[in-house]
């Protein structure tokens, strides 16, 4: 019974955080950063400095008509946005927010993370297919091709860390890191590969071909009415935050910081450092997005299959070699 309460409470807490700290805040942050990069002002009228802009957008979206396009597959069309959003948020189960503060420390932590995050591609593919729209279908297919291609280097760099540390649990990965983080060459290479692959996994520029707006309208969510589109966005930003948090967990020392904040105690200061690092990584992704142009699709797949995959595979073997002979 106690456990049931704890499950429901943790789901509610994480979803509240996801709605406010990820959904509402990251959209605003993206708009502010794009404005900053392009020398504009960005949203500023709703609330102080435009901070309530996304909330206003959400209220507007709630009043918009839902349209099921002619010939669309109703069940898949309705389910896809929910699948994308829930798959992204399910990965939050294994994120270590602070010392002893995790929803559940699964023994297969990072494997679980990679597994649920890749469920997202199913929602995107069925959403594109079910819309009965050529742009949406092409966007969905491109997205599937891209996400599965970059899942491999992502998986291999996660595996490199797991090999060096000898565990899959996210808590143990943080605890076994020397301060401030690992300095093995293998882990650093794995981190670089992870960063590139994570950008592609979350469909962001320079890898945003699935929703390339100048060729595919909006890609797989072309036909979706506002609130379903918002759910897709929640999934996208949710997975962006989750991969940034996993990057922090595996490569940047997780919740540990240079000093413990006074007064608030070790748990709260752990949360502070974890969120600070994660939002810094998110900022990096956004900065890249608004700075670089888009790849062509053949270039995109070449980067994955002919550069990242051999590099990460060789990197994994090198790490394994050192570990096996008592590194």
């Amino acid at each position: 019974m106690v456990e049931v309460v704890r499950i429901v409470l943790s789901v509610l807490l994480v979803f509240t955080f996801a709605a406010v700290g990820v959904g509402l805040f990251l959209v605003l942050m993206e708009r502010k950063i794009s404005a900053w990069v392009q020398a504009r002002i960005g949203p500023r009228h709703v609330g102080p400095y435009g901070t309530l802009q996304t909330l206003a957008d959400l209220l507007k979206m709630l009043q918009k008509e839902h349209i099921l396009p002619a010939g669309a597959d109703r069940v898949m069309f309705e389910l896809s946005p929910i699948v994308v959003a829930v798959a992204a948020l399910m990965s939050y189960v294994v994120l270590p927010w602070g010392p002893g503060l995790i929803v559940r420390d699964l023994g297969v932590g990072v494997l679980y993370f990679a597994a649920v995050l890749s469920l997202e591609v199913i929602g995107i593919l069925t959403g594109g297919w079910a819309s009965n729209n050529k742009y949406a279908l092409l966007g969905g297919l491109r997205s599937a091709a891209q996400m599965v291609s970059y899942e491999l280097p992502l998986g291999f760099s996660i595996l490199t860390v797991a090999t060096v540390v000898g565990t899959l649990s996210t808590v143990r990965i943080v605890e076994s890191q020397p301060y401030p983080w690992h300095t093995y060459p293998s882990v650093i290479v794995a981190g670089a590969v992870f960063l590139v692959a994570a950008t592609a996994e979350s469909n962001r520029i320079p890898f945003d071909l699935p929703e390339a707006e100048s060729e595919l309208v909006a890609g797989y969510f072309s036909e979706y009415s506002p609130l379903r589109f918002a759910l897709f966005q929640l999934g996208e930003y949710g997975s962006l935050f989750a991969t940034s948090a996993l990057f922090v967990t595996m490569f940047l020392g997780g919740w540990r910081g240079p000093f413990e904040l006074p007064v608030v105690g070790s748990v709260l200061s752990g949360i502070f450092w974890f969120l600070l690092k994660t939002y810094a990584v998110v900022f990096f992704f956004m900065w890249v997005r608004w700075t670089y142009p888009r790849f062509r699709i053949d270039q995109l797949l070449n980067v994955s299959w002919k550069i990242l995959l051999p590099v990460s595979l060789a990197n994994l073997l090198l790490a394994g070699l050192l570990v096996a002979w008592g590194g």
Partner: protein, 118 residues
């Protein structure tokens, strides 16, 4: 152990409900006025022709096949990564043989042009 998966199931279930909740609000609040033109698929303003479920290129299939090959392999590496330190060089050599076979597969696909976007 089952408790671990109760958390995962709870996330999927409660998460699904919470995600579907706003859709219910839309159903209650939003206006409904639909006519055939509004329901047409969006094709940049022209009337859509043919079905959207047309043929698409086989190259998507090649990439997903190559992905499947590697994704199945990755599953075997996870347990290996955890116990490698305990098992030592023997486990490493065994994995090397396993990966070498797959490496040859990748080289073959590369040579045959399966990784080219044509």
């Amino acid at each position: 152990m089952p408790l671990d998966w109760a958390y995962v199931a709870g996330f999927a279930l409660v998460g699904g409900i919470l995600a579907a909740l706003p859709l219910g609000i839309v159903w209650l609040l939003a206006p409904r006025s639909q006519y055939p033109q509004k329901l047409l698929a969006y094709e940049s303003g022209v009337i859509p022709f043919g079905s959207a479920w047309a043929q698409f290129h086989v190259r998507y299939y090649l990439f997903s096949l190559a992905f499947l090959l590697f994704d199945v392999e990755v599953i075997y590496i996870y347990p290996w990564a955890v116990v490698l330190r305990a098992l030592g060089p023997v486990a490493f050599v065994e994995m090397l043989i396993f990966l070498a076979v797959l490496g040859v597969g990748l080289a073959y696909a590369w040579k045959k042009g399966a990784l080219e976007w044509v």
